[in-house]
C-alpha cells in the first residue's frame, strides 16, 4: 500500500503512458511520481506537447496508464470496474476543460444540474443547489440560456459551477484560460484563488500560460513527459 494518508487526494506512482500510433510508439509520460494533498493549489506547467493533457487525463481517471499505479483518495483505480470508476470519477473530480465542454442541448442551469442528475441526487435539492452555484459564479440571470449564447468567459464560469456541483475532492482544469482573453483569464484565475482560500478546495491546473503560475502554491514543471521540478 502507498504511504498515503487520508489527506492525499491523488497519487501517481511510476506512471508511464505510451500511445500506439500504428507502428510508432509515442511515449507521452515517463515514470511520473507525484502526490497532491487536500487543500493544495497545484499548477502543472509545460510547453505544448510536454504531456500535460495526458497527465490530466490520468489524474482525472479518464484514461489508464500503460505502467504504474494511480490512487484516487484511497482507491487503486486499476482495481475498479468500469462503472465504479465512472461513478467515482464523476463525483470526486470536477473537470474544467479548455473548450468548456458544456452539454450543447442543455440550458445553463441544466448543465450545472447534469452531474447531480447523473449521480442520482435528491430531486428536491438539485434546483436549489444549482441556483446557488450560478449565483456564486455571477450568472444567476442566464439560467435558461443555451451554452452557444454565452461568451467564452461565461461558459467557463458555468463549467466551474458544474464542476463544483457534486462537491468533489478536487477541481481538475486543463488549460482553463486557453480559450479566453487575458482580462477574463485573470478574472477566472481570481475565482480559482477565491475557491482555494475561502472554500479550501483542492485545485490542479494544467497550463502552458505563464500568467497562471503566480496563483499557484506549488508548480510542477513538465518537459518531454518527465517532471523536471516540483513533483
Amino acid at each position: 500500500m502507498p504511504e498515503a494518508n487520508e489527506k492525499t487526494v491523488i497519487e501517481l506512482k511510476n506512471v508511464s503512458k505510451v500511445y500506439q500510433m500504428g507502428e510508432v510508439e509515442v511515449s507521452a509520460l515517463k515514470n511520473i511520481n507525484m502526490k497532491v494533498e487536500m487543500g493544495e493549489f497545484v499548477v502543472v506547467m509545460g510547453p505544448s506537447g510536454s504531456g500535460k493533457s495526458t497527465l490530466m487525463n490520468l489524474i482525472g481517471c479518464l484514461d489508464i496508464p500503460t505502467e504504474g499505479k494511480i490512487f484516487l483518495e484511497t482507491h487503486d483505480i486499476s482495481k475498479l470496474s468500469e462503472s465504479q470508476l465512472a461513478r467515482i470519477r464523476g463525483s470526486r473530480i470536477g473537470f474544467i476543460f479548455q473548450f468548456f465542454n458544456l452539454y450543447p442541448t442543455l440550458s445553463v442551469i441544466e448543465n450545472v444540474e447534469l452531474p447531480m442528475r447523473i449521480h442520482n441526487y435528491d430531486e428536491r435539492k438539485i434546483r436549489g443547489k444549482s441556483l446557488e452555484l450560478l449565483k456564486m459564479v455571477g450568472l444567476q440571470n442566464r439560467n435558461d440560456h443555451l451554452p452557444s449564447q454565452l461568451s467564452g468567459g461565461e461558459m467557463q464560469r458555468v463549467a466551474i459551477a458544474r464542476a463544483l456541483s457534486t462537491e468533489p475532492s478536487m477541481i481538475l482544469a486543463d488549460e482553463p484560460t486557453g480559450n479566453i482573453d487575458s482580462k477574463t483569464s485573470q478574472e477566472i484565475m481570481q475565482f480559482f484563488k477565491k475557491l482555494h482560500t475561502e472554500k479550501n478546495e483542492t485545485i490542479i491546473i494544467v497550463t502552458h500560460d505563464q500568467s497562471v503560475a503566480k496563483y499557484a502554491q506549488r508548480i510542477i514543471h513538465l518537459k518531454d513527459g518527465q517532471i523536471k521540478e516540483g513533483g
Partner: protein, 429 residues
C-alpha cells in the same frame, strides 16, 4: 442516472434533428402501414367469408350434381341457379343437371351420422303478384326436413308443414323488394300461372346460401310447376348431420356411399358433397397463403425501415461523440450511455408504429371502400360488413413489433457509443 432523465435526454436528441428523425420514422410508417392494411384485409375477408357461410349452418352438408376437378370443392352451386361447376370434359353424365335421384336420397339416409335428408328441386320461374311479374328462384323442399335444417327464422307467419298444398314461404327481399307492392302474409302469388298462398315471410339473412330471394314451397307442389326436373330427380340434397363436429367424417362417408351406388370412382365422380366448413377451410387456406405472401413483401419494407433506424443512429453516435465524452467524464456509465441511444431508437420505432397503424387504418378503410364497390354487395345485404378489419391484437402487435424493431436496430449503434473512450470522445471535433 434515473431512467426518467435518460428519457428526457433521448427525447431532446430526437427533437434536435427533427427532419432526419421524421424521415427515419417515415420508413417505419410505410412498413407498418403496409403490414397492417394487408393483415386487416385478410382478417376482414376471413370474417366476411365466415359470416356469409354461416348462413349454411354448421351441421349441413350439401350434395349437388357435377364435380369440378380443378378444385374438387366448388362444384355445384347451392340450391339457387343450376350448378355451373360440372365439366372437366370427362364422362357425358357429369355435365347433366338434376341427376340426383330418390335412390341417392335413400342411400344417404342410410349413412351413419346422418340425421335428416331433404331432397330439393329448384328452378327460376315466372312469379306474379298483383299484376306485376318477376323471375325468381323457386325451391321445392321436404317441409319437415327443411324446417329442421333452415337457419332462417320467420318474420311472420309459419314454416311449411306436411300436408300443405299450394302454399309458399318467401324471403324478405321477395316480400319487400321485388314487386311494386309489398307481398303481405296470406296474400296470393302465382307461380307459372298457378296460385300459391303466402303462409310465412322469413327474416333477412343477409348471407350467401341465404333465402332472401327465394320462394320455398312443398316439393309436391313444386313438381307441378317445375318442369325441368324429372319426377324422381333432385336438384340438390341437403343433409343434416347428427354432430356438427363430425361433419368432415360424414361428408366423406356420404361421398363414398354415393360413389358406390352411382358406380363412379374418383376419376368419374359426378357429384359434389360440400359443407360450410369445407368451403370455408379451402377459401381460408387460399386467402391465408395469399396474405402471408403479401405480408412478407410488406415485411421487407419494414426491414428497410429498420436499416434506416440503424443508419440514423450510427450517424447520431458520430455527431454526439463529444456529448458522450462529456457524459462519461461526469460519471455516466457505459450501460447508461447504451440505454440513452436504445431509448432514442425505441422512440423512433414507437412513433413509427403508432403512425403506421394510423396510416394503415386509413389505407385499409380506402381498400375497404374500393373493394366493396368492385365486388359489390356480397349477399343481399352484405354491404354493411367491411372488407377489412383492424383488431386490437393487430394494433398491439404492430406497435409492439415496431418498438422492438427500433430497439434491435439501435443495439449496435448504442453499443458503439457505450464503448467510446472518454478521452477520445472529448478530443473529437
Amino acid at each position: 442516472m434515473r431512467f426518467r432523465y435518460i428519457l428526457k435526454l433521448s427525447a431532446e436528441s430526437f427533437m434536435q434533428k427533427k427532419l432526419r428523425s421524421w424521415l427515419t420514422i417515415l420508413g417505419i410508417v410505410i412498413g407498418v402501414a403496409a403490414v397492417v392494411s394487408i393483415l386487416s384485409l385478410s382478417t376482414g375477408t376471413q370474417q366476411i367469408i365466415t359470416s356469409q357461410l354461416g348462413g349454411l349452418g354448421a351441421d349441413i352438408v350439401t350434395v349437388s350434381p357435377g364435380f369440378n376437378r380443378a378444385s374438387g370443392m366448388f362444384g355445384g352451386g347451392g340450391s339457387g341457379g343450376g350448378p355451373e361447376g360440372g365439366g372437366g370434359g370427362t364422362a357425358s353424365s357429369i355435365t347433366e343437371d338434376h341427376n340426383l335421384t330418390t335412390r341417392d336420397l335413400a342411400a344417404i339416409k342410410s349413412v351413419p351420422g346422418v340425421k335428416a335428408v331433404d331432397g330439393m328441386i329448384s328452378d327460376r320461374l315466372a312469379i306474379s303478384y298483383l299484376a306485376h311479374s318477376a323471375t325468381l328462384s323457386v325451391e321445392g323442399v321436404d317441409p319437415l326436413a327443411w324446417k329442421e335444417m333452415t337457419t332462417s327464422s320467420l318474420a311472420s307467419g309459419r314454416y311449411l308443414t306436411p300436408g300443405d298444398g299450394n302454399v309458399a314461404v318467401i324471403g324478405s327481399r321477395v316480400a319487400d323488394g321485388v314487386f311494386k307492392q309489398a307481398v303481405l302474409l296470406n296474400s296470393q302469388i302465382t307461380i307459372e300461372g298457378k296460385p300459391f298462398k303466402v303462409v310465412g315471410i322469413l327474416e333477412s339473412s343477409g348471407s350467401f346460401g341465404g333465402t332472401d330471394n327465394a320462394i320455398i314451397v312443398p316439393i309436391d307442389a313444386a313438381r307441378t310447376v317445375i318442369e325441368s326436373v324429372a319426377p324422381t330427380h333432385f336438384s340438390s340434397i341437403q343433409v343434416q348431420v347428427q354432430d356438427a363436429n363430425s361433419v368432415n367424417q360424414t361428408t366423406n362417408d356420404i361421398s363414398s356411399k354415393l360413389m358406390l351406388v352411382r358406380h363412379v370412382n374418383d376419376n368419374t365422380k359426378d357429384f359434389t358433397v360440400s359443407s360450410a366448413q369445407s368451403i370455408q377451410q379451402s377459401i381460408s387456406s387460399i386467402m391465408g397463403t395469399l396474405s402471408l405472401f403479401m405480408a412478407g413483401i410488406a415485411a421487407i419494407s419494414l426491414l428497410v425501415g429498420a436499416i434506416g433506424i440503424a443508419n440514423t443512429m450510427f450517424m447520431s453516435v458520430m455527431e454526439r461523440t463529444k456529448q458522450i465524452g462529456i457524459l462519461k467524464a461526469l460519471g455516466t456509465t457505459n450501460f447508461e450511455v447504451m440505454q440513452l441511444f436504445m431509448v432514442e431508437s425505441a422512440i423512433v420505432g414507437l412513433i413509427g408504429g403508432l403512425l403506421g397503424v394510423f396510416v394503415g387504418f386509413i389505407v385499409s378503410g380506402i381498400i375497404g371502400e374500393i373493394g366493396v364497390s368492385v365486388i359489390g354487395n356480397l349477399g343481399p345485404r352484405g354491404g354493411s360488413m367491411s372488407l377489412t378489419a383492424i383488431t386490437p391484437e393487430l394494433v398491439a402487435f404492430a406497435i409492439g413489433f415496431s418498438t422492438m424493431l427500433g430497439i434491435v436496430s439501435g443495439l449496435l449503434p448504442a453499443r458503439r457509443a457505450s464503448k467510446l473512450q472518454p478521452t477520445a470522445a472529448l478530443r473529437y471535433e
